[in-house]
């Protein structure tokens, strides 16, 4: 299992042909108190960069983009009833979707944990 990160502050955990996607601790901290998460329906076909989900804090709504192209296999419906999980455990329990990856080469350009850490430190 490898975990990769995007400049939009998403994490992608890859196991076989499946990517589990969420937002990073940095992103959750920046958003503040999350009060609502809108998730895609299963089976949706998304291209890399498409709007995948919406996460809302008290202040504002923010888009979560598909970090890779793929088909949504499962959305984390637990977040609908407990959106605060995104603040409590963003890189664990608060995963957003599991996707079937259609173009694994897209993963190559993403950052590993160290590179992402350095990326955040420069912000």
């Amino acid at each position: 299992m490898t975990v990769k990160y995007t400049e939009d502050h998403e994490w992608v955990s890859v196991e076989g042909d499946t990517a589990t996607v969420g937002i990073t601790s940095y992103a959750a901290e920046q958003l503040g108190d999350v009060v609502f998460v809108e998730l895609p329906e299963e089976g949706r076909n998304s291209n890399k960069g498409d709007e995948l989900a919406v996460v809302e804090s008290v202040k504002a709504a923010s888009d979560v983009y598909a970090p890779v192209s793929g088909i949504v296999k499962e959305a984390n419906s637990e977040l609908e009833g407990a959106p605060e999980t995104v603040n409590q455990d963003p890189e664990g329990k608060a995963w957003f979707v599991k996707m079937l990856i259609t173009d694994p080469t897209q993963l190559d350009a993403m950052m590993d944990a160290d590179a992402y850490k350095a990326f955040c430190a420069d912000l």
């Binding site: 503040g32 108190d33 009060v35 609502f36 809108e38 919406v54 809302e56 804090s57 008290v58 202040k59 504002a60 709504a61 609908e80 959106p83």
Partner: protein
């Protein structure tokens, strides 16, 4: 390069930065949007005492040319002048009484909402203490100067500190420093001295809670810092200010109110005093009085989304297939523990309980017209 001029700073700017606030540009000022977090700050204010820096707003004094006087006639004279711009009964204010009103254009549209106070002190008559919104203050003051000319002198006080202390513990916090503040009821104001600083203390606010707004000389920064040492007091940013006022059903100028909306459309008909309706002598009176008599085409209402999705400003409101309005303020209410909003709808859909559909990111979501406020007011009557 940005076309915007650099952001101004309030006298408390460095205090916010030192406290670790997240800062944003607002009304031309670099202001704190949050300290520890919107949710926590909102709840703290409803339960204890929140301190808000509102020094970006536009406090000013409007005074008869000869300066303040001691006679009752002086108040009537200055009140008559400002009444040419607003529909409220300013002549009828008692000494130390404050009133919310609106600046109107000739079409009855709202140019700003503001609070006008008659000084309590006997030697300060012929003068009004006025607080306008930060984003509109330059335009408001230009309008007052244009319309009133040499008949009144306008002194801006926006180089001072203006703070709001809001919440159930605000009374204890404030009266320990200003003993006389205990005598103030809601919308009452007096000049008071604390530690050699002459302040204007008014019992009002923008959260729905009991509280005070205090105008302090700019040299009083140290006293505000001391106030923050009080364990009942926490600094609150603009984020919680917005969620608090939305739950309280209070309008935000530039969002819920603008020059295209009349006070009747804005459900602020109560601001138009009875004697002013009879006199019909305020800007846009013909249109506004017609709307009072026959109804306005649209109305501002509270809107309660029926699921968890917040509906933000600009969200379209439908009844069946027909678009009947738009959300003007919307978000999450931490005290309500759910989404809350307000907006304008066509008059036939303004009744409490009317079922509506909100189009949130292309998805229809059920809502209904709700009574305002969402959280009961807790004013000191």
């Amino acid at each position: 390069m940005s076309d915007h001029p650099p952001l101004a700073q309030t006298p408390l700017h460095d205090v916010h930065v030192r406290l670790g606030a997240k800062m944003v540009g607002f009304a031309g000022y670099d202001m704190p949007i949050q300290f520890e977090g919107v949710m926590a700050e909102h709840k703290w204010t409803r339960e204890h005492c929140g301190l808000f820096d509102v020094s970006h707003m536009g406090p000013c004094l409007l005074t008869l040319p000869g300066g303040p006087r001691e006679d009752e006639d002086a108040h009537i004279e200055i009140a008559k002048l400002i009444e040419t711009l607003v529909p409220g009964d300013i002549q009828g204010l008692e000494p130390g009484q404050a009133r919310l009103t609106v600046l109107l254009n000739e079409d009855g549209g709202i140019l700003d909402d503001l609070i006008i106070t008659r000084p309590y002190e006997g030697d300060q008559q012929g003068r009004l203490y006025i607080v306008v919104n930060g984003a509109t203050k330059e335009d408001d003051w230009a309008l007052m100067k244009e319309k009133l000319g040499d008949l009144a002198d306008l002194e801006r006080l926006d180089n001072r500190i203006l703070v709001a202390l809001q919440g159930p513990e605000a009374e204890a916090v404030v009266t320990e420093r200003f003993t006389e503040a205990a005598y103030l009821g809601f919308m009452e104001s007096r000049r008071m001295v604390c530690k050699d600083l002459t302040c204007i203390v008014s019992r009002c606010g923008y959260t729905g809670e009991d509280g005070f707004e205090i105008l302090v000389p700019a040299s009083g920064v140290g006293h505000i810092v001391e106030l923050l040492d009080d364990e009942r007091v926490k600094p609150i940013g603009l984020g919680a200010r917005d969620s608090l006022r939305l739950e309280a059903g209070l309008c935000l100028y530039g969002h819920d109110l603008d020059p295209q909306k009349t006070p009747v459309e804005a459900s602020l008909t109560w601001l138009i005093s009875k004697n002013r309706r009879e006199a019909a002598d305020f800007p846009g009176a013909a249109k506004i009085l017609d709307q009072i008599a026959n109804g306005a085409p649209i109305r501002r209402v509270g809107i309660q989304p029926l699921d968890r999705a917040p509906a933000r400003e600009g969200t379209e409101i439908y009844a069946g297939d027909k678009k009947i309005g738009e959300i003007t303020s919307g978000g999450f209410g931490p005290t309500v523990e759910g989404p809350v909003a307000m907006g304008y709808v066509d008059r036939e859909f303004a009744k409490t309980g009317t079922e509506l559909t909100l189009m949130v990111r292309g998805k229809p979501r059920a809502a209904k017209v709700a009574k305002l406020p969402f959280v009961p007011h807790n004013y000191k009557r």
